[in-house]
Amino acid sequence: MSQDLAVLKDISRTYQKGKERVEVLHKLNLNIAEGDFLALMGPSGSGKTTLLNLLGGLDKPTSGTVEVGGAALHSMSSGALSKWRARHVGFIFQFYNLLPVLTAQKNVELPLLLTRLGSKERAKRAATALAIVGLEDRASHYPRELSGGQEQRVAIARAIVSDPTLLLCDEPTGDLDRETANEILALLQALNRDHNKTIVMVTHDAISAEYANHTVHLDKGTLTAEMAA
């Protein structure tokens, strides 16, 4: 049996909206095995993205503990979390979030600026990542010169270039047509299967969730169901 990569215990997350306190996650417990491909499903406002943010060290729980790869994220400082993210997590967003002023190659190189690699090595690794997502011939293109699917592939290349253990995807196919979405999901599946990346994907789409090994349903901040694919 695989070892757990992420362990979330009694997680609650509350936000202050004006005078009102809104509890987005309520005493949630979740274990994610190393090498898993997990889909997080649920209606809007169910806490999917908040859960993803907690797993990625972008946010901290109001109560409870988050441990990923042995690191206690709930007690780490902002600076330590930044360093941890740079080493261990790759993020893929719905709207790609590429920097429009940089070419695909330079966008992919961005996480490597935080390493001690020289410019030649950075370029070499970025080229490799672009080759993995099948975009080696688009390296010098700017995001505005790429299709939505190509932009998302570049975003995936950026997420894997520093070889993180965990990939966090927030609606990665939400802005794509079905055919392109399937290509992206197949690519994520390949990364999980062939490169042993642990993937957690937030999605509204049941078809997309079928590409994952497990699906977890959230509603009103709590887990309602867990299903194997």
Binding site: N53, G56, L58, D59, S78, G79, S82, K83, R85, A86, R87, F91, F93, F95, N97, L99, P100, V101, L102, K106, L110, P111, L113, L114, S119, R158
Partner: protein, 385 residues
């Protein structure tokens, strides 16, 4: 340095806005360069004034002459080593606009008191021997194309000669240089005896005395002793160091340094607002991009540094081009107007000050947007996309 490419590319996110901002910075530093050079002209005499040289003038006004007899009495004051005198001739060559200083002097003592004036022994001897000869500074020769042996007519609006004319002829006996760059090579010097005998009025007087002392720390004491000596006489005196004299002389034209400072302060304040607004807009427009950088692992300090570097880079780009242009203009103008604006130059101090202002202005313009970028919460910024 590895972030430079990112900073550079971010800078050109909105090309037109960046170019307009750079142009406004460029104009500010062009003005800074030109005004600094202009200020240097007025500072020249002050900055290079000799600390152990004092000047005695009439207490009421520089234009009131002093008796020639004062020379010996000044020389007799303990601590005074050499005394010389000079008088404002107020002449021009050919064009009334082409004014430059000419002084009737006693050659031997003037050159002794002003050792910074460099002239060959041969030319110096020739000057001593010919009564109506003059020596001229190198800048005047370059300006008017004179050469040794030329006879030049100098028109004066002050000193009518005994014939009732206002034109004095001189033979150029020599050309002097200076061992510093303070512009004293824009002078013309000729014999006091020739001048005193030839003028229609004012015989036996000089404009001012310049003298050296043996101990510069006693300057105030010696100045006081001289002024006390002439107190309650028809020609009371005011003695000060050469620097103080030069400064008070320049103040006749107004407080140039203050005017320059005021103009530049207004210009730079405006530039700060322009550049600050540009940076604030730039950061506001790409909050999500900055949040992505933080998501990837860029720390708060790095994001702040990237925004600040961008702001400083805008200032440096515009500022260095502006200073470069002003340097070219000043060099051209200095050649054309050496006689009228001696010492017109963009000094190394002004250049260094300019670069310092660029960096400080870059920090000032970028600091608030940079702090905003630093404090940016990833979750909130990404939620807006």
């Amino acid at each position: 340095m590895k972030y430079f490419y990112l900073v550079w590319k971010s800078l050109w996110r909105k090309k037109v806005r960046t170019i307009l901002t750079i142009l406004s910075v460029l104009v500010a530093f062009l003005l800074f360069g030109l005004l600094s050079a202009f200020n240097a002209v007025f500072r020249g005499g002050i900055d290079y004034a000799n600390a152990s040289r004092l000047v005695t003038i009439d207490k009421i006004s520089l234009i009131n002459p002093l008796p020639i007899s004062y020379e010996q009495r000044i020389k007799a004051v303990p601590g005074v080593t050499q005394v010389t005198s000079a008088t404002w001739f107020g002449g021009y060559y050919q064009d009334p606009k082409a004014q430059f200083p000419q002084y009737p002097v006693v050659p031997e003592t003037f050159l002794t008191v002003h050792p910074e004036l460099q002239i060959s022994e041969e030319q110096k001897n020739k000057w001593m021997q010919i009564r109506d000869s003059a020596i001229v500074g190198r800048d005047l020769v370059n300006q008017f194309g004179w050469k040794i042996g030329d006879r030049i007519p100098i028109h004066t609006t002050i000193w009518t000669n005994r014939d009732g004319g206002q034109v004095w002829d001189f033979e150029i006996a020599g050309i002097f240089d200076s061992d510093n760059n303070n512009g004293v090579t824009t002078l013309m010097l000729f014999h006091y005896d020739y001048f005193d005998e030839g003028r229609a009025f004012g015989q036996g007087t000089v404009g001012w005395y310049t003298f050296t002392i043996d101990d510069s720390s006693r300057a105030a004491e010696i100045a006081d002793a001289i002024d006390t000596q002439f107190a309650n006489s028809p020609n009371e005196t005011k003695t000060s160091t050469e620097a103080a004299f030069a400064e008070s002389f320049m103040k006749q034209f107004g407080n140039i340094a203050l005017i320059v400072r005021l103009i530049l302060s207004a210009v730079f304040f405006t530039i700060l607002l322009v550049a600050g607004n540009t940076m604030a807009q730039s950061v506001r427009e790409r909050l999500s991009e900055l949040a992505v950088l933080k998501t990837l692992g860029f720390e708060n300090g790095s994001v702040m540094g990237i925004v600040l570097a961008e702001s400083i880079l805008v200032m440096l780009l515009g500022g260095l081009i502006g200073l470069g242009l002003s340097s070219v203009i000043v060099q051209g103008a200095a050649k054309q107007m050496a006689a009228f604006l001696p010492g017109l130059a963009l000094t190394n101090e002004a250049l260094a000050l300019g670069v310092l202002i660029m960096v400080l202005a870059g920090v000032a313009a970028g600091i608030f947007p940079a702090i905003r970028a630093m404090r940016l919460t990833i979750v909130e910024a990404l939620a807006r996309t």
